[in-house]
């Protein structure tokens, strides 16, 4: 029997099946993804990055940052907190229910618990347990709120509040999820280090800004030029241990500024349907009638921020 065509067909079938599985199906599922809404606020997510940050993505790609920095926050699980938000009007029933849920409380302690709400009644438990406690308290007329808390080593390290999902990369082209963590994960670096000036200093002299860093410096993204009569507003506030000759200043090139803008725009913490997370509602800002310009808040520029002490851990 001639095996040739059979082998060819078998190989073709195998490869075609994986092509369908990993090229066509993801395109059908993810390729037409549109912006989604945050839960529960209903804001649009994600919003496209501002122009400088889009250029910064290309600089990030060109410098191969993705070879050392990942942009994927890993979440290993979810736990639930139960918050008591209102004690209700039936005091006796409430106290009884609270003592069922928190057995160690005596009656006066239970009454005192009802002051200063919201207070957590359960912390870090499974959903079933949280809902059971909620049911008990609701039966007594109290109102509760279940708080969703993602957990994982990355989250405990402060690298993010929830895992990264496909929506986070919606408007990036090309996407840079990264392959290895020779350096810290950058999915939420815009939240950890919202100051573009920190990023510029870090790019210029990473070992001076972060003690023990193994990141190579990127001086070619900056220009050393003679300072004019006054230092340029863009000039870097050099970190400790980095010197430049008198009369010279280090100024970031447009690529460096774009890259810093991109890094500052990296935030992946919005609560979504695919990555639920409870966030405190933003405080309601009273609408005032004060005309614009009343306050004199100075615009934060790269030069205006303080020098973060070396050894600060991103």
């Amino acid at each position: 029997m001639n095996y040739g065509p059979l082998v060819f067909l078998a190989a073709f079938f195998a490869l075609a099946s994986s092509w369908f599985g990993f090229v066509v199906t993801p395109q059908l599922q993810l390729g037409q993804m549109q912006q989604t809404n945050t839960v529960p606020a209903g804001a649009l997510y994600p919003v496209a990055r501002p122009g400088m940050a889009q250029q910064g993505l290309q600089v990030y790609r060109a410098n191969g940052c993705a070879y050392c920095h990942s942009q994927q926050v890993v979440q290993t699980g979810t736990v639930f907190d139960l918050l008591l938000t209102d004690a209700g009007t039936n005091q006796a029933a409430f106290v009884a229910a609270l003592q069922m849920v928190l057995p160690r409380l005596s009656r006066p302690e239970a009454l005192e618990f009802a002051q200063g709400l919201p207070k957590p009644v359960r912390r870090g438990v499974a959903k079933v347990e949280a809902e059971a406690a909620a049911k008990t308290l609701k039966a007594a007329g109290a109102t509760t709120a279940v708080w969703i808390v993602p957990v994982g080593p990355d989250i405990a390290r402060g690298w993010g509040r929830r895992r990264t999902v496909a929506e986070d990369f919606l408007f990036d082209s090309p996407v840079q999820p990264g392959i290895q963590r020779i350096g810290p994960d950058l999915a939420n670096v815009g939240v950890r280090q919202p100051d573009a000036g920190w990023h510029l200093r870090h790019l210029y002299a990473p070992k001076a800004v972060v003690a023990g860093s193994i990141m190579p410096p990127y001086p070619y993204l900056f220009e050393k030029r003679k300072a004019g009569r006054q230092p340029s507003p863009d000039a870097l506030l050099l970190p400790h241990g980095v010197e430049v000759e008198a009369g010279y200043e280090i100024v970031p090139k447009p690529e460096a500024k774009a890259l810093a803008a991109y890094l500052v725009s990296l935030r992946a913490g919005a609560p979504l349907f695919s990555a639920p997370l409870s966030v405190a509602a933003a405080p309601v800002v009273a609408q005032t009638n004060a005309p614009a310009g009343t306050t004199n808040a100075p615009a934060a520029g790269p030069n205006a921020t303080t020098n973060s002490a070396p050894g600060s851990n991103p």
């Binding site: 095996y3 190989a11 993810l30 990942s70 290993t76 990355d154 929506e167």
Partner: protein
């Protein structure tokens, strides 16, 4: 879909992962296996134990190997890493088939493998391929929350997949074919053996420290109390050792180039000389009229 009509968002990463997994495991893997399955019987003189078993190995590797590729930590819907993990683990079937066929073909006489140079390279290459599959399985069993794929372990596996297996088997193929094409054999036959040892020790020095580093780094990353700078500091010693491995590989590749270039040049020089003397006649100085 990536270059001409770029797809949106993370779909690019999925397609890129599919492409690179297929390239390294299916394309290079099968190419290397083809060379190995040709060289093994040809040089040892023993027939491959079973035609069907070798077809089975190929089929398993294509069928399941092409589904690997999506890392567990990827920000994609969960069915993709799950399918990749299933594919990776099911490649063990291909691995078992491969071990069986080698064992049956050699019939226990592994000493044959150390005999000739091409066979030595083939043996190391096949071992590397088996290690790649096993490393993939280890990554899967580390769990969805493990960082193993994001550490140096993933790098070790990549090095093994690109250099350890296809390169070694291609060295074997070249060392087999080249002496048969030219009349005199290799230019520096002893260098071939030196190159083998340098390349093997080199790739071992690259892969083993990186694999250990991956485990250490993954364990440390899982503890949020350890600051990241301490994690990266603990990796430095492993990186240094593997740089020595890289240097050895560099020297080995240089020797290979020297050997091949020398052989080819000598061959053509001999041919040129033969061709030249065929069209010219040696004339003594006295015969030439001034």
């Amino acid at each position: 879909l990536l270059q001409m009509f770029p797809v949106r968002g993370i779909t690019q990463a999925v397609i890129a992962w599919w492409y690179s997994a297929n390239l390294s495991l299916v394309w290079f893997g099968l190419m290397g296996l083809a060379t190995a399955f040709y060289l093994l019987p040809r040089i040892t003189g023993r027939e491959l134990s079973s035609h069907y078993l070798s077809l089975f190995v190929f089929w398993m590797l294509i069928l399941f190997g092409s589904w690997t590729g999506i890392p567990s930590s990827a920000p994609v819907p969960a069915w993709m890493p799950v399918l990749s993990n299933i594919g990776t683990v099911l490649m063990l079937l291909g691995l078992i088939g491969l071990v069986l066929i080698i064992h049956q073909t050699l019939d226990g006489r592994y000493g044959l493998l150390a005999g000739q140079n091409p066979l030595r390279f083939t043996a190391v290459g096949l071992l590397a391929f088996m290690l790649v599959i096993l490393m993939g399985v280890v990554e899967v069993f580390a769990g969805p929350g493990s960082f193993l794929q994001l550490t140096w372990f993933g790098n070790a596996k990549a090095q093994l997949t690109s250099y350890g297996f296809p390169a070694m088997v291609l060295f074997a193929g070249t060392y087999f074919i080249l002496p048969r094409l030219v009349d005199d054999g290799l230019r520096f036959p002893k260098l071939a053996r030196v190159q083998f040892w340098l390349a093997t020790i080199g790739i071992a020095l690259v892969v083993i420290p990186f694999a250990i580093a991956g485990f250490v780094e993954s364990a440390k990353l899982a503890q949020p109390d350890i600051a990241f700078v301490d994690v990266s500091k603990s990796m430095l010693m492993f990186i240094r050792i593997s740089t020595i491995g890289d240097l050895l590989i560099l020297i080995a590749n240089g020797l290979f180039l020297l050997n091949v270039a020398g052989t080819v040049l000598r061959y053509y020089r001999v041919q040129l000389q033969a061709g030249f003397s065929a069209v010219t006649i040696e004339a003594s100085a006295g015969e030439v009229r001034s």
